[in-house]
Symmetry: D2
Subunit: 231 residues, 4 copies
Amino acid sequence: MPFLVVNFKTYKQATGQQAVKLAKICEKVAKKTKVHVIIAVQNVDLFRVSSEVSIPVYAEHIDPVSYGANTGKDLPEALVENGAAGVLINHSEDRAELAQIEDDIKRAKGVGLMTIVCAPTSESSESIAVFAPDFIAVEPPELIGGDVSVSKAKPELIAKTVKLVHKVNKEVPVLCGAGIKDHDDVKIAIKLGCEGILVASGVTKAEDPEKALLDLIKGMAKPKTVKRSKR
Amino acid sequence: MPFLVVNFKTYKQATGQQAVKLAKICEKVAKKTKVHVIIAVQNVDLFRVSSEVSIPVYAEHIDPVSYGANTGKDLPEALVENGAAGVLINHSEDRAELAQIEDDIKRAKGVGLMTIVCAPTSESSESIAVFAPDFIAVEPPELIGGDVSVSKAKPELIAKTVKLVHKVNKEVPVLCGAGIKDHDDVKIAIKLGCEGILVASGVTKAEDPEKALLDLIKGMAKPKTVKRSKR
Amino acid sequence: MPFLVVNFKTYKQATGQQAVKLAKICEKVAKKTKVHVIIAVQNVDLFRVSSEVSIPVYAEHIDPVSYGANTGKDLPEALVENGAAGVLINHSEDRAELAQIEDDIKRAKGVGLMTIVCAPTSESSESIAVFAPDFIAVEPPELIGGDVSVSKAKPELIAKTVKLVHKVNKEVPVLCGAGIKDHDDVKIAIKLGCEGILVASGVTKAEDPEKALLDLIKGMAKPKTVKRSKR
Amino acid sequence: MPFLVVNFKTYKQATGQQAVKLAKICEKVAKKTKVHVIIAVQNVDLFRVSSEVSIPVYAEHIDPVSYGANTGKDLPEALVENGAAGVLINHSEDRAELAQIEDDIKRAKGVGLMTIVCAPTSESSESIAVFAPDFIAVEPPELIGGDVSVSKAKPELIAKTVKLVHKVNKEVPVLCGAGIKDHDDVKIAIKLGCEGILVASGVTKAEDPEKALLDLIKGMAKPKTVKRSKR
């Protein structure tokens, strides 16, 4: 069954108590549809959101620091203790140095956090596959938050990314994002080899987020009975 | 009555549930001594800590972003909603661009957060005073976490900072920090014109933090009856 | 006599051999009009440009590092050895941390480089005045490269900046920039207390840069006989 | 014939006129030994150094910007016009974001600059190989500038890097660096599959740089007659 990752970013409708409300809608949809819905929230909202829902809640950022003198950073251990199940890395709004991506993934794995590493291009997706993250999400920055989906504007980029990533590591599922609005966008992405999608404004700013989620999920393939191999 | 700011940083003894425990010790000491004890915690720990104590809990970092697409950032509004009463800005472990310091202070004031802006030197303290933060904390980076206190190593820096800051804005209280270990260090700082101190490892890594806090407070002046003017 | 600073940025017409050509035009205008024309060029162009003209050539960026292992940085000593007479600091396209601005100015002074520190607002200009740079240039970022000049769009910002900077340090001349296009813009700026202007595209992208420079200079006050006090 | 890359960094003995002197020594050794000696100098020194020697002179840093408003940056086109033949990317003292590394390489290739991309680990070397730079240089940061060479401290890291890089792209030569001091260090590196080395203080701070270079070259394999395939 595919993955649907909702990035709450810093949208008003996805902050603080509103984040809890939206998280509960995501949880409800997950239960109803059996789709793996994952949400990523502002680090500062992790505790309050993760306390209220049972779906996986990811942090939006990780600092690969260790216990000690690091004013202003959030420890990976603190993310876990506050309920994070995983973390977004290298989002185009939060780009990381190559060496830090490697550190981020190591630290995340070390404390038991799942990792979704974002990449702007097929090649950078392949490059990231080397570090064996749990997911790679390809998102052309120029389409993020826009009206045209990556599925329709750049289907060949999705296909190429899946191919290149799997050349390096067959076990890493590829997600795609940027401008994804409806079930048709999702259907194309899945058909091209993605195992899920990453959305933000399409859900957080929707008048009726539940309806928006259900519509996206309509584009996902029927559950297969084939067992996924372990990573 | 002076201020005692405890910066939890990312110390093990000051993270997650341990942060709550240490916060309660700080609260207990505050109640007992009537000293204004303020604690600064990892952003991700804000909600859990602020839910459990009544002393002011500050964030260690602020991002001057607004509602929208800012993956990986914590909104000022989200800091407030998760219980922050204020925020540390420009700590030497978390240096900010000059233009960002101005934005940070504006955004913080806009959402009702108090601001403690750190500075490495007397001149940069004076420079920051222009933006009228609620506190300025001068900390020579080379003494942070060390064995010699700023009070003993550089008393003239403290005196000069107080003078320069008050030349710009008489209303801004000056704190000092770096290597502060005992009541003697505090006494000197207060005598030189500081209205409080900023400590970290001296308390967070103390075998008995309550005892460490009480010892520091012994160095603080008796409460005056003079009313502070409003800022 | 006022100062006219031309920031070459990375404009095509102001790079490499084209930079030399434009520098010679600036030199010609300086000689003809007796205006203090200063040019700032890409660091990599410093040597070739400064070898060919006698007007002051500034670097666009300084790294406050010292001799040693700093791959990718340009030493302040190397800027000097390659002909720099000064340096731009904290341009809105090259923002610096507050602590670095202090270091930049110290290092620049230590090797004999003049400093023009840019600021986006009146308050940050005042803040920078504390560090006693040789010039402060106020430039509202939103007007840089645009069609409306700071003189016409925000005259009150210029007046306020001059006042605030001189409150801290009467000796620091204030320049202004952003959108400055003709002698009228310059006249207003000078009248409001500026001792010169900072321009870029208005000259570098002009069809006839010499004509553009001469037009700007028409807006400058007649030379006074009053001697400037030393800084 | 192997490559010997000398990174001048910001060492006193490798800045300004001293850089020219050292570059001439490198050129002399290159002519005498037929080894491919490449030097990387501070961007600001590019013009003066490249004007005086015929060996390839690389920039230490590239900014992937285009013509326009980018104060403080050096254009790739300006590097070329000032004599750069190539550029160092992602040195551990000048780390770059993953997305920027991709842009850096594209921009460098677009203007005809060769690229040496540094990496701290075997995995990040493999990751970089995806972008097909002209060279990859693996350098464990903790050994840079130290007394023990990567060849002796971590031979297995060199072997693994060569293997992983060539798995992705057989055409990319691997260099290694960090602590390389004498011909013995070089011999091991070459034997493990490196096609050259990257040195800095071992040459720049040597009492007799010519002697140091000649000693390093003693560790390099005899010229083979086999023709390298084009990249």
